[in-house]
Subunit: 222 residues, 2 copies
């Protein structure tokens, strides 16, 4: 065969605007040219998955319960037949962001990349759950602004520092207090609480299951 290969360029910025280009030798047009209707649309994905793609963005101090709640939320969503995926330090800091440290600039870039990846997951129709301290308000706003309106659910874990420090699940507060870790959020680096998060939860006062139930209700999947 020396047939043609059709080039179809879909303009993602304007869904429905499909630019068609043809190149090569058209010797077997009807046989070898396949119309490409473009990518799978959001509506098709939503219909298939039974929910919209979105980002559930946890923010709060170390030890406030982000990873615990993210993991449990993912599990509960899965049990309900939904497609969810957690982005956290385990799968991001060691991979995509392995080149970044904890300086303000690096934290900013870290959150920028996580925001962009969560956007891709939401675009793919998934419920993307992120579990990062994400201490700066402006960085979280950037992440919010790149996903369609209403698809970014900021969940602020308003757990008091004293409680987080008592929990200290990874022994990091002890190290921060003794100067072994620098730039530690809440101790030697700032945390900027959200002004208007979609949800605010105090994990000292509510159990894991209560918190998860509140989030499921908020995203309409209880």
């Amino acid at each position: 065969m020396n047939s043609a290969f059709a080039m179809f360029v879909l303009d993602n910025a304007r869904p429905g605007a499909i630019h068609f280009r043809m190149a090569g030798h058209l010797t077997h047009k009807s046989e070898n040219i396949t119309w490409s209707p473009g990518k799978v649309t959001h509506a098709e994905r939503e219909q298939r998955m039974g929910h919209s793609g979105c980002v559930v963005w946890f923010t709060g101090l170390s030890g406030s319960g982000k990873s615990t709640l993210a993991t449990e939320l993912e599990r509960e969503l899965f049990k309900r037949g939904k497609n969810a995926y957690v982005l956290d330090g385990d799968n991001v800091r060691h991979g995509l962001c392995s080149d970044l440290g904890f300086s303000p600039d690096d934290r900013k870039e870290n959150i920028r990349r996580i925001g962009e990846v969560s956007k891709l997951f939401a675009d793919a129709g998934m419920i993307c759950i992120t579990a990062f301290i994400s201490p700066y308000r402006s960085d979280r706003e950037l992440a919010r602004n790149i996903v369609p309106e209403g698809r970014f659910i900021e969940v602020y874990l308003d757990t008091p520092l004293t409680v987080c420090e008592k929990r200290d699940p990874k022994g990091l507060y002890v190290k921060a207090r003794t100067g072994k870790i620098k730039d530690f959020t809440g101790i030697s680096a700032p945390y900027e609480a959200p002004f208007h998060p979609e949800l605010e939860l105090n994990t000292e006062q509510c159990s894991v299951s209560e918190c998860v139930a509140t989030i499921l209700k908020r995203i309409g999947l209880a």
Copy 2:
């Protein structure tokens, strides 16, 4: 309520190794403590989705047909009830990698990040399809090596330069030939063909639908 909040730390590096930590005031243990069985497992995701998460990595010159095939493959997989998502210049170069240019170092970092993101998608159980020139062999090997063995399907589009240049869907070859674009793969920057790709397709000789059928067969989803 002033009940306890359980901290469960799942060690992702060692599935099955679940570290349990407790903090706070245990006033209503049975009522408020929820056992977190950890993240959704790969096996559970595979069973739900009906396929394994994997990466279908297209590589080839500009105009070789990567985006066209990626889009069409995504569509065909969706029609078969599978969960697939395309990463390409449209959704990556303008977002996650917007800070990168086309120097060798930037290309390397670009492909590193795309590799890491495709790994996350595969980890989430999706069939992640990437459509990037990815000219350097070592960069593609890095992307291959971070996903589990057998989950990386490198598809080399062995379309001759002359054919790609004739197609020139974005008018880039003309600009490269006249020096308006520097470091253009195939003209003024190198392309390193894979030694052992899982698939090698010549889009001059095979139609879109034939190529897609070959790929579907290779990944066991024809």
